[in-house]
Symmetry: C3
Subunit: 139 residues, 3 copies
């Protein structure tokens, strides 16, 4: 069983998709989410305190600064803007695919886990996530 | 086929679970391990020289220092202690899920590969790993 | 359905395997690629401008410098050369396994996505990737 989730982002940030994915899964098996882009990521993170998301974004902006930051002057792929190559680097560091076991119609997420798309570009983008659900024959 | 592996950790460090997982898998297919937490990670790493594990822990403690380190003063989510937000950041950087092909009852791990739970919190925690094995119908 | 892809590398760098993998997959289901090593990684990245690959390699060499770099003097696992422990660290940071949904015989890669093996050692290595394809019964 396959589908595509489409998310329109409005720049850098975390966009929660837990509910959308949750209402699609059924039965028992394993869910695969695959992001079809090289300048955004999928992420499972805490969905309770929004400060966690602020701090995550702040950390990754420091770990991989904008290309116009003096520490990043070694970058050569800069034609598409100072946020482009850092976006590719973050897309390498953070997951492009996630797999979550599904049992009795529910993803086996922990109590505090939410599923997010993390946008690494500054401007709005339309992002597609390919989803696949393997349903167990017998389990 | 699904199960849950439970590991009780005693603070920061790598806890090998290869043998426990190995004795659960059977047949041929693909194994999914999914960690139900946002302050620990799953990791496949060298299981020969224990120095590798020491160095891995040291590197990640330097890459993501404690919140009371001057370089981390931008963090805002600090109520649960100086090791909490760094734990979430490491949980973003390192895998929450692993998939390993299984053939003839054995995981296709390389000669030096072991499966680890990496605890990012300083104190003891009870960690659950949701496991799913897709067994091939015909292969 | 399982197979092994073997790649002989010639030191640090990205080696594209998209075409080899693409000609192996069929039907609809989900592909798992698992790298049987702890000093190399799998990566999905942009396959258009080669500068992206140069910049990725440059970033990771800065994030995880050679063990003879003064900032890395805390490393203890150095007997196998100054590139060995940094290779293990990069293998922790970057994916060891990838999952890609397959539909109608084609991987659901985005337009700019290629699949790469990233070699973290300086010298030539023979690398094995275990591949598994779950084919959907009904979808």
């Amino acid at each position: 069983m396959q589908t595509t989730f489409t998310i329109t982002t409005s720049g850098l940030g975390l966009y929660e998709i837990t509910q959308e994915v949750s209402s699609w899964v059924r039965g028992s098996g394993v869910l695969t989410l695959f992001l079809c882009h090289t300048s955004a990521s999928l992420l499972i993170q805490e969905n309770a305190d929004p400060d966690v998301q602020t701090d995550l974004m702040a950390f990754f902006s420091r770990l991989v600064p904008s290309a116009d930051n003096p520490t990043m002057q070694f970058l050569t792929h800069t034609l598409e803007g100072p946020d482009d190559m850092p976006a590719h680097i973050k897309a390498a560091l953070l997951p492009v695919s996630l797999q979550i076991p599904v049992l009795g119609g529910r993803m086996r997420l922990g109590r505090w886990q939410g599923i997010y798309l993390m946008e690494h570009r500054n401007s709005s983008h339309r992002r597609e996530i390919a989803a696949h659900l393997s349903v167990d024959g017998t389990s």
